[in-house]
């Protein structure tokens, strides 16, 4: 069977999907081209054949569906509460837990030695030695002044 250049349009013609201007030309072409005529008739016949024979649906199916839906309706309050808990409360509880964990981590960092040894000065973070931190944070007493002046550190 040869592949005619009109075969694509012939298919559209068979399903009335081509424009009026092409219709006339293609209809005339059908008398000249045996292969296109065969394709056209194939699709015309195909439209008259039920693709799939559908059996009748069982009468009981409708009632089976009604029963199933009734069972869903009769779901107890506890079931609904339980599913609500799972759907709504669990994510909220997880969010709160994560919030506390993150909070605790931030707190722990702020009070950690490493953090306390860093001093922001003029936009820069200066890391202090333990000795420097002690001087900064302790109350200025005479002892401390003497210690700074004559201490061996």
């Amino acid at each position: 069977m040869k592949n005619c250049k009109h075969s694509k349009d012939i298919l559209k013609l068979a399903y009335n999907d081509c424009g009026e201007d092409r219709k006339q030309l293609l209809t005339e072409h059908l008398t000249d081209c045996k292969d296109c005529a065969m394709i056209y008739n194939f699709h015309k016949n195909l439209q008259n054949i039920n693709t799939v024979e559908i059996p009748k649906v069982s009468e009981s199916l409708k009632f089976r569906i009604f029963d199933e839906i009734n069972k869903i309706k009769e779901q107890t309050f506890i079931d609904i509460a339980y599913s609500y808990f799972h759907k709504k409360f669990m994510p909220a509880a997880c969010a709160v837990l994560i919030f506390f964990i993150v909070g605790a981590l931030v707190n722990a960092y702020q009070f950690s030695d490493k953090h306390q040894n860093i001093l922001p000065i003029a936009g820069e973070s200066i890391e202090l030695t333990d000795y420097q931190r002690e001087i900064i944070t302790n109350e200025i007493t005479d002892d401390l002044i003497m210690h700074i002046a004559f201490g061996d550190r």
Partner: protein
């Protein structure tokens, strides 16, 4: 969407779930028909019809009134069938379709179409067609849906519907030429 259908659905959403039975009675045939077109097995099609309505009942509060209930329920039915095939493929329990023998009609090739063998050939060809083409083809040829309605079911523009339908018809034509040895 028909106004009465909107009222019925709103009543169901607001708690009058008995009204859902009316929707089941009205649409059970079309849902079964669409599912059966894919499966060609009555009992399984009935099970999936039931599953479709239960899914629809459980998610009716998500119905947005953008399409008719029929379009919506047919979309759920097609997705239910796809899920069924996905599960079946996962369990590697796929049946291969064998094409029937070709009857001898050398004088007129299209005489084949009158034979029961052709009916079997057509059934099997549509059954084996790629899913995207099959859905559009069955909705158009079997259920006589308009292009607009098919577009609403598969959530694609009319141009896509037209091109898939053309490809589906071309697919059947090609398979027929191969099968009949033309």
């Amino acid at each position: 969407m028909v106004e009465t259908e909107r009222v019925v659905i709103e009543e169901i959403i607001n708690g009058d779930t008995r009204k859902f039975n009316d929707l089941v009675s009205e649409h059970i045939d079309i849902v079964f028909s669409v599912i059966y077109s894919y499966l060609k097995h009555k009992e399984t099609s009935e099970d999936l019809t039931q599953e479709t309505f239960i899914k629809a009942y459980k998610s009716i509060s998500n119905f947005k009134f953008k399409s008719s209930f029929k379009t919506w329920i047919v979309r759920i039915a097609i997705n239910t069938v796809k899920d069924y095939f996905r599960k079946k493929a996962a369990s590697k329990n796929i049946t291969l379709v064998e094409f029937p023998d070709i009857p001898d009609t050398r004088d007129n090739p299209l005489k084949i179409m009158e034979n029961t063998e052709f009916k079997k050939f057509l059934d099997d060809t549509v059954f084996n067609m790629p899913d995207k083409l099959k859905t559009v083809y069955l909705l158009r040829e079997q259920e006589k849906y308009t292009y607009e309605d098919i577009g609403a079911v598969i959530k694609k523009p009319i141009g896509t519907v037209e091109s898939r339908l053309f490809n589906a018809r071309k697919y059947i034509q090609q398979k027929f030429i191969e099968w009949a040895g033309l």
